[in-house]
Symmetry: D2
Subunit: 353 residues, 4 copies
């Protein structure tokens, strides 16, 4: 059994980790920390866990994290990098669900997250935890920067058309790299379990809005990921919107197809690219995915379209922002790191309706 | 492996059976029928099942139901009783999620369901599938009439105060039997997956209403169940309301405490009654349960209250109407019928948020 | 034109007052205060008011409240009583939407609101602003304690059966006064526009729960109102529930009918009682009201039922908690105080769907 | 008073017309028809209209439509064109909320609506009822084809950048006309008040999906409108999505800015274009509009953005699909046709929250 600790267990990604890990056949939950709720049984805050999780929150200072095989950080940005060196020194592996180890450039990190990066040497060895791109590196990693929820869906949706090998076969880029668009829609759990007026039910339900239009923190992360794949600069417009629902991200991606690729079979391209992926489902041509088809599961479903009356490629991607967009991806990465079956603990069927 | 068939798989209880049974360690899904969708892969109608259920809907006429060990009927009222004799003759056991085998009186059935009962001899042997009341009879049953969603929550909530042994100890009834109240609230999936104006999102969301106020079909079923427990007539007002949510039933139950019982420890009474039950959770005194604490799980949670300034007992009960209120209870009953662990295939942690 | 000021305009009752008063034919909005948002144009916080309300929030200290004819307090409890003496001395009339002037007993106020009452002499002259009970006193009042949202619906629903004249005709009480039940359901705007985890969309949507089960502040207010009508003590169980919707209260009221009244025509009783009321609609026998039928309007709709198989009277009441339950009732009261048509500015048709 | 008839009053655009017209100072409602509900009081189907609309539905055959000054068709496609000649002959003016008189090409109509156009001569004189483009023609029209809900928002959002005069000043097109994108999101009332599984609350709430991805009927209408403005062909990808809310359309529009226009002040361009429009609100630079800011009102709000890291223009448009997207626009057009103030009966403040 792998000994697991969770730092910061009172938010949505924390309770989702608890849901997944408490059902995982190879995991022993050892500690879950919360400075504020220290001493409170976890199942008192989250009655859904009554009878399933017996732990109480412990203070981070006294939690036996150094005895864990792996520690998840489900904390605000900045916490993981503060604790990383000590835990690594103790032989513990780390999976950070926040942004501390996502951006390779500390300057970019500091620009978007408004705090200095205290730990560049750990950042240097950290692996970006997107299995569909970095599977082998993840297996060997000591530190994982887990992708953000939007970046997971946008990168998976654009991967096949940015693949250098596909471009080589076609004799050049398949799509114009200077006008990619990601029009993304997220449920309100993406904002976290924080007391805020903007995501109150009375504000956000029966309503639809865009937000962070002037620039969202996930933009540099997506760009970094896409550029790493294609090997040259890309320009991307990324517009997040808030949907009156709890879970789910729906990304509508647009790219202008280059003349050389207008006859290409994009459906086949996508199916080939993801044929071996356990959690990426390329739907049949003509499909319209919906977020509930992956609700509470680690699947991503993708549909590939050519809108009538245009030279555009349109890719529709659905994921559960708390599972494949966060905690489920964390478990998938942990499975890889510890040589377990990649889908261990992640075989739940989505909840519909 | 138990061979299972499902008749009528296109509704919500059908797809929920598929979700649960496709994850059940001791079940082989053999057939799922739909007259209308015959030939369509199940996962095409319900993409949440892609990669998990490979069956296609088959026409009821040609489905290999007679080779099953057990057949679930997730059909409109009247279907199960039409097919029961033939299947029973073939040695198949039946679990009906509709109302054909719930009411012991054919006259009551005909009054409330507006159709003749074609199968009184099967009805006579059918067992009402509420494990918390009828566990031993269920183990031996060939035919189960599975309780309705509301009746499950209301009966479980009233059981302890109607227990004859508790009354014997107290020297008489604990509550007045002529003025029970069940003020119940259900999510919209309770209305089924039927094209209807009243449960359209644009009608039913951001809205709250009572319905079937003049008399709901679950009233005689609840009354029959309560009277079977207490052994004498009861009077009950049952008011169903529609909540703008997908899953969940919340029952607020009121009973007037008799003078002899006003000092009784009802919390202890409830805890004792359900101590051995795997799916009934009596919450600590003072708790306020919420439907999401059981979302997509087979649990029922109960809180017992004495409202200030009154002689009333108030019991709050939450369940997922599609799980403990229907398909999950069906699986629980099947487990009992086939000598499996009672919670086999039913250990999923509720989905929160 | 009546000069109107609003103290505390950043909450839901404040913006609802702005919506109603900006369309009122006899009102001039003079000032709206907010300590925190001083200087910000109101329409910047609430874009729905762009082009309709040109005021900016002003600091309470410098707002020209003393020049108003009437000032509404849409503030937390305790603010109105602090400012009341000075404004009254300046000849301004006051309508408090909080609880400062609702409870006649300062001891009760202090028990439920956990603060001393600083202003008992103003409380003594304050009139409880429920027009259907106190219309004449309201016309002459200088200070109004406006009823809470739940108390409005519960009192209106019980009024006719507690009417002493009806009891006199029947030869005694129509219902048992020691076991009244108000099972109430409210949309999330009732919790106000405050940053809180419990009413986040991701917590409160697709969910249903009871709250304040051990005792809600509106209980003493409802009891005070009912006892004032019937002239003797009543016992009431009041259970509030949170509905995943924005606006609306649905109150399901139960009372046990006394033997003498079991043949009474309650439908006729209710119709007579409210025949002259401009904002109370007694629906035809057999109706099931829904909250959206009064959405964004000042109407209350009531349906009277005798549940089958019981000796209970059941009354269903719907209101918009922000209109008849708060700001609309405030405007209705203001109209009475200033001799305007009672429905001036309140003639909007409910929004459906 | 203008005598108004409504054909087909049982859907959402019908009841919204009733809400608006019953409050209109210059309108007398004369008849509202429904074949199916003939004889039923309108307020029985829509209790929100109790006390406000006294009419009953009448059979179309016997309704006094020929005595009306104007008749609205809130009917399925094909009904208006069948009745138009007779009513026009009687001197009645027509406003069709369906698609019969939107597309100038009968071939296009027949391709997208799968029925022959029976009335090309009336179509030839019909005016497309978008006041911001066709105000003068509307004043003189006898027959109006009212724009669809999506087309209203998309056309208003693209109008300023397609304006030939702006292109003349800039020396060429401001944006590339062959890659316009309209990523649109609509509430469920856009699907109408029809019994359908796909828009049930239990299907469509807590969910987000695209639909009609292979081609939506509003595509040719939008293209026709845009091409009429710019005077040359455009290519447009139009993707509709279903949002779990009742009312509201949010259109996220993207266009690639031509090199010549990259320094242009688009904010100023939009403000100038709509300066005189009573119902189009160009929000301040940097704004993020939300659908509730126009809920139940005839306003459209527009925000103009330049996404960072791109050469794209992004325009965000919000409207209430039942008001400016249908019935409210119908009333606005009627006001123009009859020389009334353009905002008569349309001055309601949006409902927030």
């Amino acid at each position: 059994m792998i000994k697991v600790g969770i730092v910061g267990g009172t938010g949505y990604t924390g309770v989702e980790l608890l849901r997944l890990l408490s059902q995982h056949p190879h995991v022993e939950l050892v500690a879950i920390t919360s400075r504020k709720e220290s001493g409170m049984p976890v199942a008192e805050m989250f009655p859904s866990l009554r009878g399933r999780v017996d732990l109480a929150f412990t203070d981070p200072a006294s939690a036996p994290l150094a005895k864990c095989d792996v520690v998840f950080f489900a904390t605000p940005h900045g916490v993981a990098m503060a604790q990383a060196p000590e835990l690594l020194a103790a032989g513990v592996r780390l999976i950070d669900l926040a942004a501390d180890f996502r951006l390779k450039s500390t300057a970019e990190f500091e620009r978007w997250y408004k705090m200095p990066h205290s730990c560049p040497e750990v950042l240097a060895e950290a692996v970006y935890g997107l299995p569909e791109v970095n599977r082998e590196a993840i297996r060997r990693a000591r530190v994982i920067g887990l992708p953000g929820c939007y970046p997971t869906s946008v990168q998976l949706g654009f991967l096949p058309v940015l693949d250098p090998e596909a471009a080589r076969v076609a004799g050049g880029d398949l799509v114009e790299l200077d006008s990619l668009i990601a029009d993304c829609k997220s449920g309100a759990s993406g904002a976290g379990r924080k007391a805020e007026v903007g995501t109150l039910l009375a504000e956000a339900s029966d309503n639809f809005r865009a937000y962070s239009v002037a620039g969202h923190r996930h933009l540099p992360e997506i760009r970094q990921g896409l550029e790493a794949v294609v090997g040259k600069p890309v320009k991307l417009a990324f517009t997040p919107h808030l949907v009156p629902m709890i879970r789910g991200i729906f990304s509508t991606l647009y790219a202008r197809i280059t003349p050389r690729a207008r006859e290409l079979d994009f459906q086949a391209l996508y199916e080939r690219r993801f044929a071996a992926e356990p959690f990426v489902d390329v739907m049949p041509a003509g499909s319209a995915p919906e977020t509930r088809s992956v609700r509470a599961s680690n699947f991503v479903r993708i549909a590939v379209h050519r809108p009538p009356d245009s030279d555009l490629l349109m890719v529709l991607v659905v994921e559960d922002n708390l599972v494949k967009g966060a905690s489920g991806q964390g478990v998938q990465v942990m499975n890889l790191m510890f040589g377990l079956p990649e889908d261990a603990g992640l075989t739940q069927v989505p909840i519909l309706p």
